[in-house]
C-alpha cells in the first residue's frame, strides 16, 4: 500500500480560458474522511474528476493508491468508487440492476455481489423500491442508488461528489450514516460539499477551496478554533468575505 491514499502535487487544470484548479497540493491519508468544501464553481468537481481519471491535469500530478492518474488510469479505476455529481443511471433498469451492473464492471464475484447489493440496499433504506425502474424514482432515491452504484465494488477509496445535494433531510441522514459506516470499515472517503454542516458533521479534515485555490486545510475543530468562528460557514466568510452558500 502506498504511503498516502491520495497525493495531489501542484495540480492545475485549465479549460480553455477558465482555470478551474490552480497549483493545488494535498495529501490524504488512508482511512481519512476528507471533505472538499467550497462554493459552486470553486473547482471541487474538477478536482475529483481529475482523481477519478476523467480529466487530465494541465499541470502537476496526482496519485491514487500510488498510481498516477494521468499515466496509470486503469490501476486507479480498479481501486476507486465514483459517485458523480450528476447521478448517471440507466432509466430502464431497476435500482438493483443498475447497482449490479456497476459491480459487474468491477468484476465483483457473482455470489459476493448479490449479497453485497442486498446488504447495501437495506442499509440505505431502499429495499422496498429496489425492483422498480429507475425512471420512476424520486431525486433522493436516485442519489442513493447512484451512491450504491459507486460503492458496490467495495473500493478502498470512495470519491463522492456532492452526494447529498438537494436531498431531503431523511435521505441525507441515511447517506451520512452510510458514509460513517464506510469510514468505520477503514475506507478512505473524499467528499465534496458546499454544505458546511455536512463537512463539520462528517469529516476528519476539510480542504476549503475557492476559485481553484486551496485557502485552508485542517480538521473542522482546528479551523473553527483558529479563526475564532462559530462554524465552518463563518470560517469561510472570514477567509473570503463571501457566503459559502447562496442565500436560500
Amino acid at each position: 500500500m502506498s504511503e498516502s491514499a491520495i497525493t495531489v502535487t501542484n495540480l492545475t487544470k485549465r479549460f480553455d480560458d477558465v482555470t478551474a484548479i490552480e497549483n493545488l497540493s494535498l495529501d490524504i491519508g488512508w482511512g481519512e474522511l476528507f471533505g472538499v468544501l467550497g462554493p459552486n464553481g470553486a473547482g471541487k468537481s474538477t478536482l475529483v474528476n481529475t482523481l477519478n481519471t476523467l480529466l487530465k491535469p494541465t499541470d502537476g500530478s496526482a496519485t491514487v493508491d500510488g498510481h498516477d492518474v494521468e499515466f496509470d488510469p486503469e490501476a486507479v479505476r480498479g481501486v476507486i468508487g465514483v459517485c458523480p455529481q450528476e447521478p448517471a443511471f440507466y432509466r430502464f433498469l431497476t435500482g438493483q440492476e443498475n447497482i449490479t451492473l456497476m459491480g459487474e464492471m468491477h468484476l465483483v464475484p457473482e455470489a459476493v455481489l448479490k449479497e453485497r447489493v442486498r446488504a447495501m440496499v437495506e442499509k440505505i433504506g431502499m429495499e422496498d423500491h429496489i425492483n422498480r425502474r429507475a425512471k420512476d424514482y424520486s431525486g433522493g432515491m436516485i442519489r442513493r442508488i447512484s451512491m450504491l452504484m459507486a460503492l458496490v465494488n467495495d473500493p478502498k477509496i470512495a470519491l463522492l461528489d456532492e452526494p447529498t445535494v438537494g436531498m431531503d433531510p431523511n435521505s441525507r441522514r441515511a447517506v451520512w450514516d452510510f458514509i460513517r459506516e464506510l469510514k468505520s470499515r477503514g475506507k478512505t472517503v473524499i467528499l465534496t460539499t458546499h454544505y458546511m454542516e455536512e463537512a463539520q458533521e462528517l469529516c476528519d479534515r476539510v480542504a476549503i477551496i475557492d476559485e481553484g485555490h486551496l485557502i485552508e486545510l485542517g480538521s473542522p475543530a482546528e479551523l473553527i478554533e483558529k479563526h475564532k468562528a462559530k462554524n465552518l460557514e463563518e470560517v469561510f466568510l472570514n477567509l473570503t468575505g463571501k457566503q459559502l452558500k447562496e442565500a436560500v
Partner: protein
C-alpha cells in the same frame, strides 16, 4: 476486454430493447407489422395465388400478308395464364390506359413484323439480309412485379412464336430454354418484395444505436463507465453484440410473420441459416452508421435526424423499392442492396447455397460492416464521446 463485462453490458442493452416502448416498437413491432401488412396487401396469403397482368396490345401487322407471325405471337400471349390481353386500336388509347393504371403493360407489334420473321427464315445465316423490326413493350414502372415479370414472359412468347415450341426441331444450334420463366407465373408480388424485408427491418437499428450512444453520453453514463475498469472495447463490443442478437431476432420475426401469412421462400435450411448470417453481418453496418451519427450530433434528437441520412438511401436503394437507371448505379454503394440481392437469389430464384454470388454479397456486407464499425468507433472515441 472482458467477457463478463461484455455480457453484462449486452444484457443491459437488450433489456432496453424490451423495456423502452419506442425501441421495442421500432425493433420488433415495426418489422412484424410491415411484413404482415405488405405480405397481405401484395399477395402473401395462400402461398402464391396466381397473378395475372392486364396487357394492352396494338397489332400494326395484323393485315399484312405475313400476318400469321404476329397472330401466332398474340396467340401465345393470350393462351398464357398470366396475361389478360386487351386489344387497342391506336397508340394513344393504349398509352393512356397504361398511365391510368388500367394496364400493367402495353405491347405494340410494328408493321413489318411478319416480314421481319420471314426474312429471317429466308436466310437464317445471313443477318445482313434480315429486315429488322422492334416490338415496343411498355411496362408500368410503378409495379415492381410487372417490371420484373412481364418482359421475360413476353420474350418467351415471342421465341415460341418464331421458333415454335421445340427449337431443336428446326435445327438451330442454340436452344432457348427458360424453365424459370414458366414458374414465375405463380409468383405473387410479395415473393419479389419479401427478400427486401430483411434488410428493411434492420436498417432502423442505425437510429437506435445513434440514440442510445448519444443518450448515454448526455446522461453521463459513458463517463460513469469510464471511471470503472470497463474499457471502451468492452462497451463497443457489447453494443455490436447486442445489435447482432437483435438483427437475428428480426430475421426470425420477419420469417415467422411472412410464413404465417403464406409466404414460402424457395430455399431450404441452409438458405435460412445464410439469411441469419448476412443479417447479423449487416447489423455491423447499422452499428457503424449509428456511431458515425452519434459522433456528428450533440443530442439524441439530432442523432435521430442524422441517422436518417444513412437510413433513407438504404431503404430506397437496397430493399424492395423498384430501381432503374441512376438509382440502380448508386445502389452499388448501399450495403442493404447486397443483403437483398443475396436473399432474393436464395428465396426468389431458389438458387443453391453454393451459388458464388451470395457469398460475394456476404463478404461485401461483412467487410463494409467491419470497416464502418472500425471507422465509427475511432471517430466516436476521438470526437464524439465528450
Amino acid at each position: 476486454m472482458n467477457a463478463r463485462r461484455i455480457i453484462a453490458l449486452t444484457k443491459k442493452e437488450l433489456r432496453k430493447t424490451t423495456r423502452e416502448p419506442a425501441v421495442l416498437f421500432l425493433v420488433i413491432l415495426f418489422p412484424i407489422t410491415v411484413t404482415f401488412v405488405f405480405g397481405l396487401a401484395f399477395g402473401g396469403i395462400g402461398g402464391g395465388g396466381t397473378t395475372s397482368f392486364d396487357v394492352g396490345l396494338l397489332n400494326l401487322d395484323a393485315t399484312s400478308p405475313q400476318a400469321d407471325w404476329s397472330l401466332a405471337f398474340v396467340d401465345n400471349l393470350t393462351t398464357s395464364d398470366v396475361f389478360v390481353m386487351h386489344a387497342f386500336a391506336d397508340n394513344d388509347s393504349g398509352h393512356s390506359a397504361l398511365l391510368q393504371g388500367n394496364l400493367d403493360a402495353f405491347i405494340i407489334i410494328p408493321e413489318g413484323f411478319g416480314d421481319s420473321v420471314a426474312s429471317y427464315y429466308g436466310s437464317p445465316f445471313d443477318p445482313s439480309a434480315w429486315t429488322n423490326s422492334t416490338i415496343e413493350l411498355y411496362v408500368d414502372s410503378g409495379s415492381l412485379m410487372a417490371v420484373s415479370a412481364i418482359p421475360p414472359l413476353v420474350q418467351e412468347a415471342l421465341m415460341k412464336a418464331i421458333f415454335g415450341n421445340d427449337a431443336m426441331a428446326i435445327g438451330l444450334p442454340v436452344e432457348i430454354g427458360s424453365p424459370g420463366l414458366v414458374e414465375s407465373s405463380t409468383f405473387t408480388q410479395w415473393d419479389f418484395m419479401a427478400p427486401g424485408m430483411f434488410a428493411f427491418a434492420s436498417i432502423f437499428l442505425t437510429m437506435i444505436v445513434a440514440q442510445t450512444i448519444t443518450g448515454e453520453r448526455d446522461e453521463g453514463l459513458l463517463k460513469r463507465l469510464k471511471t470503472t475498469p470497463a474499457s471502451s472495447a468492452d462497451y463497443m463490443i457489447s453494443q455490436t453484440a447486442s445489435y447482432m442478437v437483435i438483427a437475428a431476432l428480426q430475421v426470425a420475426l420477419v420469417l415467422t410473420t411472412s410464413f404465417a401469412i403464406g409466404y414460402r421462400p424457395g430455399t431450404g435450411v441452409a438458405g435460412v441459416v445464410f439469411t441469419f448470417v448476412i443479417a447479423v453481418a449487416f447489423s455491423l453496418v447499422a452499428v457503424g452508421f449509428g456511431l458515425i451519427s452519434a459522433t456528428l450530433c450533440k443530442s439524441a434528437e439530432a442523432a435521430t435526424g442524422v441517422s436518417f441520412i444513412f437510413i433513407m438511401p438504404q431503404m430506397f436503394l437496397g430493399t424492395f423499392m423498384p430501381l432503374g437507371g441512376a438509382a440502380e448505379a448508386i445502389s452499388k454503394f448501399v450495403p442493404t442492396k447486397y443483403v437483398t440481392e443475396a436473399i432474393t437469389t436464395l428465396f426468389l430464384r431458389g438458387a443453391p447455397i453454393t451459388t458464388p454470388v451470395i457469398w460475394i454479397n456476404l463478404a461485401i456486407v461483412s467487410l463494409a460492416g467491419l470497416l464502418l464499425v472500425a471507422v465509427g468507433t475511432v471517430l466516436f472515441e476521438r470526437y464524439g464521446s465528450h
